[in-house]
Symmetry: none
Subunit: 403 residues, 2 copies
């Protein structure tokens, strides 16, 4: 986006004692169902009170009309141009489950699958329990340790998911997903999109054939689809760019991975509820200047098309909110990384509502926190990549530009 935001801000950013909390309710934005959006339907006295004290607006995650994955959605929120920094799913999964990724490595996400002959009949092998899947991963690791002089390591994930890491010289991640995307289609092997990646693609294809051989007598988990090939990306570190000690509070691996990628510390959460996450926030309050707090379930229920459940999660966040508010952050932003409308059962391109509470807001215009109030809020519609500079300004961490 024209000017690299972080480069431009760099010379204005100043270190202060103020604290910023970014509360990301994943997929929060929605559309109207029976007259209301989930944010409108939910009883949210605490969020609405914050709205009366805040600057409201809405973000365009990438570009108008573009539906972001969680990676680009979050990078934008953290102030990284999501078009400039394109991050593979493999690296996010790997970082999320604490796999160390080095400069010479290529990681990818694996999906256990069921094949019948050459046809992929179940892309998730009936969603095996994590414990079963973990044993299969161990079996693979015992049989497959190296291909063409390149070291192969497997790491179990949740259910059908795992991570595979190759370590060796000259590896390249410019490879198409080895996944037909739909069931009933033939196996798709790994294909390089650039000539320099042909050797790596060949190794992944050999790997998939070896996996098929090792698992050939398994009734369901007899194959793996491999995708999201990625090297560790060169990305500026959030704490250095913004001169803040930064921590992430998240339950799901991919979001921990995203935070780790930009150099945040990952804080352990004892439990899974919003209240548990706010408890972690309280516990580490003195140790950091910036906290990213991620609520996953708003997105999950949006993906499920479950209006009532999404609404209920919003109410749970609202109910727990006083625990966060009593810490009295200098700046609080409540937003999402993208919209996940119930009516779409998936991510969407719709603008994402946000509100920023600080001592310096142009408060007074808005009465509640929802999509419509935010569309007509005091900030207007901005790119997500510009949110960080608004937070930094409200935290008085940005000096004047020019004389």
């Amino acid at each position: 986006m024209m000017v690299d935001r972080q480069e431009f801000l760099q010379k204005l950013i100043t270190k202060t004692d103020s604290k910023i909390v970014m509360l990301v309710m994943d997929g929060i934005g929605d559309t109207v169902v029976n007259g209301k959006t989930p944010l409108q339907a939910a009883k949210t006295p605490n969020l609405d009170k914050v709205a009366t004290e805040s600057d409201l607006g809405q973000t365009i995650p990438v570009l108008p009309g573009v539906t972001p994955g969680s990676g680009p959605g979050h990078l934008g929120l953290f102030g990284y141009d999501p078009i400039k920094f394109q991050i593979g799913r493999g690296i996010l999964e790997a970082l999320g489950i604490d796999v160390e990724v080095g400069e010479k490595d290529v990681v990818a996400r694996g999906n256990f699958a069921t094949i019948d002959g050459d046809i992929v009949v179940d892309r998730r092998a009936g969603r095996p329990a994590t414990e079963i899947s973990k044993k299969i991963v161990e079996k693979l690791q015992e049989s497959i340790k190296e291909i063409d002089g390149v070291k192969v390591q497997f790491y179990p994930g949740k259910e059908h998911r795992f991570v595979v890491k190759l370590t060796g010289e000259g590896l390249d991640d410019r490879i198409e997903d080895a996944d037909p995307q739909k069931e009933g289609l033939p196996i798709k092997w790994a294909h390089a999109t650039h000539p320099e990646a042909e050797k790596t693609a060949e190794i992944f294809t050999k790997l998939m054939k070896e996996i098929r051989e090792v698992l050939k007598d398994e009734p369901k988990i007899n194959f793996a689809l491999i995708r999201g090939f990625s090297k560790y990306p060169a990305i500026p570190k959030f704490p250095e760019v913004y001169k803040m000690r930064a921590a992430a509070i998240a339950v799901y691996p991919m979001y921990k991975g995203l935070a780790k990628l930009v150099g945040m510390d990952i804080l352990n959460v004892d439990g899974e509820t919003p209240e548990d996450e706010f408890e972690t926030l309280k516990k580490h309050w003195d140790e950091y200047d910036f906290f990213y707090v991620h609520i996953k379930k708003t997105d999950s229920y949006g993906e499920d098309g479950n209006f009532d459940a999404k609404t209920h999660v919003i109410e749970m966040v609202d109910k727990a909110l006083p625990k966060l508010l009593e810490l009295n952050p200098d700046v609080l932003v409540v937003t999402g990384d993208h919209s996940t409308p119930v009516a779409i059962s998936g991510h969407s391109w719709h603008p994402v509502p946000f509100m920023i509470k600080s001592a310096y807001t142009r408060a007074g215009l808005s009465k509640a926190f929802d999509e419509f109030e935010c569309a007509r809020g005091s900030v207007g519609t901005i790119y997500a990549v510009d949110l960080m500079s608004l937070l930094m300004a409200n935290a008085r961490k940005l000096e004047k530009f020019g004389a």
Copy 2:
């Protein structure tokens, strides 16, 4: 603008069966006269009902404060960066009247004019009837066939307008308009803005002098101003970029020219009213995925400063709208290519209202289709060049960006 939108979208665009209708009411945006804009004053029950089901917003045609011609205005709507793709008026006029333009040609738009000595006293020679003007064009073609080894061809247009085409080696279109722009000023000959165009400028100056000689005994039409010098531009083809079969429904030559330039098919309209245009839409409904429908008269009456007539055209569109709506397009956008305020009697820089109707809108916020509702709509203010990606998103023709 930052990222080239079409390049970025290319890898996300997917072919589907959904249909998009882009209804362009030329110059629709306006300012308030006696308390209302023409859109507010017009009785538009159909447009207003669509507004209740739509996402509303407003577009910036080029950059804030920049008043676009019809070319940049439309290119933005079609998703082409109007600053990157600058198209001469000559090529638009030529394509609009079915002149074949080859790679070695330079075309320009001619205006018959009246001179008195060296002074241009009427830039349109009293707006002659098309039939009279056509005879003058024939007379010129008989007398002038070649200059300095370059072939010269004339094509009649409406009233005082005509097109001239040069065909030869090494022609260049970087030439200033040979038009003093105001009456009472001396003749302005053709001047190159780049050294490579000097030969071509010289030929055009010779041509203007020969025209003066041939017409010296005519009482009114005794000269021609020549402008909009242009070669055929290299421009990506709309149907290839967006993977849609695309057609244009327009009555006026320049808009047909614009559509042809980007590779749309031009559909014949039997008549000139909005209803006639919607009838054409209906007739060809099954043959295309994208329809650009152009209403000219909103702009014409804006240019004339005629509030009531502009209002009446809006009402005519509204009355005919059910014929369009009954086709049930997956996505309908109603907008303009720029504003033409009655109070300005010309194009302006004001943002242009739009509404997008689909099954996926954040509908419910807006009650009517006008400048004020659009300024406070659910989409906010965006660049015109970003409208296409919103339409593509609503038509579910864009895949998710990133994991």
